[in-house]
């Protein structure tokens, strides 16, 4: 296998590190048209070699890896959060519990678990718009939204969401009037934030399931609003 190209600095602090040759970045194994996901050609090999080493040493069970991947590719995702939002829209007492203690309220719907243990739900209103970011890395409420999208983890979003939230929202197509207060939530601790979007007008006759179908991942991060169509 190719040697790992980079070693971590000694801890604590950014001490000296032994840098080896940095392997050239190529797009050779790039299997998706996505410019900022450039893949050095040997990453696939490095990961395969590491997995086979960990499996041979009995440190990890490959079937457990499969099960974990299956969970986040097919079971846990933003549809969970959408059901939470729809329930809050139709059930005022649930909404009250959700805003008071998000973690236990989502457990009522079966969405407890990893990275949703300490959930804080923040409510959008006509006068307040909430936006969630993790400037330090990628903290995100997995149990209700699944794993975060690339843009959420990217330097442009993390750097700008706190200093220029209105500019960020315009880039997402949401131009808020100056009269609306913007609250940015930087997930620096172990609280995880979910935005409760406003229920769009014209949805009075929709049932909970139809309402859930309107709710997008982006609206629950706060970079979009929910629309009726």
């Amino acid at each position: 296998m190719p040697a790992p190209p980079v070693e971590l600095a000694t801890s604590p602090g950014p001490g000296p590190f032994a840098s080896r040759d940095i392997i050239a970045t190529t797009m050779a194994e790039h299997d998706h048209d996505h410019a900022h996901q450039a893949v050095p050609s040997d990453l696939t090999l490095r990961v395969k070699a590491l997995e086979s080493l960990l499996v041979e040493k009995g440190l990890v069970d490959p079937a457990a890896l499969d099960a974990l991947i299956e969970t986040y590719e097919h079971k846990v995702g933003p549809r969970n959060g959408a059901r939470v939002v729809a329930r809050a829209w139709v059930d005022p007492t649930f909404k009250q519990r959700l805003l008071a203690e998000g973690g236990s309220a989502i457990r009522e719907l079966g969405y407890g678990g990893a990275q949703g243990e300490n959930l804080v739900v923040v409510e959008n209103t006509p006068g307040v718009h909430n936006l969630v970011v993790c400037t330090l890395c990628s903290c995100y409420p997995w149990s209700v939204l699944g794993l975060p999208p690339v843009w959420y983890k990217s330097a442009p979003y993390r750097s700008r969401a706190v200093i220029d939230p209105r500019g960020v929202l315009r880039e997402f197509g949401l131009d808020l009037p100056e009269s609306v207060e913007v609250r940015v939530w930087d997930s620096t601790a172990e609280l995880r934030y979910l935005v409760l979007p406003e229920r769009p007008g014209g949805t009075e006759n929709l049932d909970e399931e139809a309402l859930a179908a309107l709710v997008t991942r982006d609206a629950m991060v706060g970079v979009a609003k929910v629309t009726a169509s």
């Binding site: 996505h34 080493l53 069970d61 590719e73």
Partner: protein, 219 residues
């Protein structure tokens, strides 16, 4: 540490590349890397904070160049060697040392669902007096630790208001270095956008940052 990962408020990072209907993983190596990182934590040779610090210890230029899961891979390669689970020679060769014992993985496929369902909360059920009250004006300390911290640079020295008390959590600055959990209160502190960024910011806007007791002093 004042690393490049602490990027709140920086300029020059480019436009946000939003993508509709992106896959959870772009390639199988990303998925395998994600899952190996999660499951190797079960050996408890490191904790969540040490693991975050592993990402932060990637040299700055490399951090900016790497994709998200390349950082995870680099972190895992670093942690398995530092913790002694794997020797440097094994990592280089990709094979266990001849004659080395075979372990039993702590999490099997059938335990994944219950392990995830249980979650792992760094909240601590201990009584610790809160140093600050709701509504109190507080200043984020001007501190520049060389190790792990969750006190972002853009907040240091700034004055905010305690918006809510989230209860008691372990302290990442010590936990990341295996120096104890030091449980203490975490608050959501509201900083006005103008306090953080000056007069060009909207007078209505604010940033809420989660802060541990040790990050704050009375203002």
């Amino acid at each position: 540490m004042n690393g490049v990962h602490d990027m709140g408020g920086m300029h020059g990072m480019g436009l946000i590349e939003h993508e509709s209907n992106e896959p959870v993983f772009y390639a199988r190596w990303e998925a395998r890397t994600f899952a190996m990182n999660c499951l190797m934590g079960a050996w408890r040779k490191w904790n969540l904070d040490a693991s975050r610090h592993g990402i932060e210890r990637i040299p700055a230029a490399e951090y900016l160049r790497m994709s998200y899961y390349e950082k995870w891979l680099t972190r895992l390669e670093g942690l398995v060697v530092e913790s002694g689970l794997v020797t440097p020679a094994e990592l280089t060769s990709g094979r266990p040392l001849p004659g080395s014992a075979r372990a039993i993985p702590p999490v099997g496929a059938e335990q994944v669902a219950t392990t995830l369902g249980r979650g792992v909360s760094p909240r601590r059920d201990v009584t610790v007096a809160a140093k600050f009250q709701m509504g109190q004006r507080v200043r984020a300390r001007n501190a520049n630790p060389t190790g792990h911290t969750r006190l972002p640079r853009y907040a240091r020295g700034k004055v905010g208001t305690v918006d809510r008390d989230h209860g008691v959590f372990l302290f990442p600055d010590t936990n990341a270095h295996f120096l104890g959990e030091k449980p203490q209160h975490v608050y959501s502190v509201r900083f006005t956008a103008r306090e953080l960024w000056g007069s060009q910011a909207s007078p209505r806007d604010s940033v809420y940052i989660d802060m541990w007791d040790d990050y704050l002093e009375p203002a």
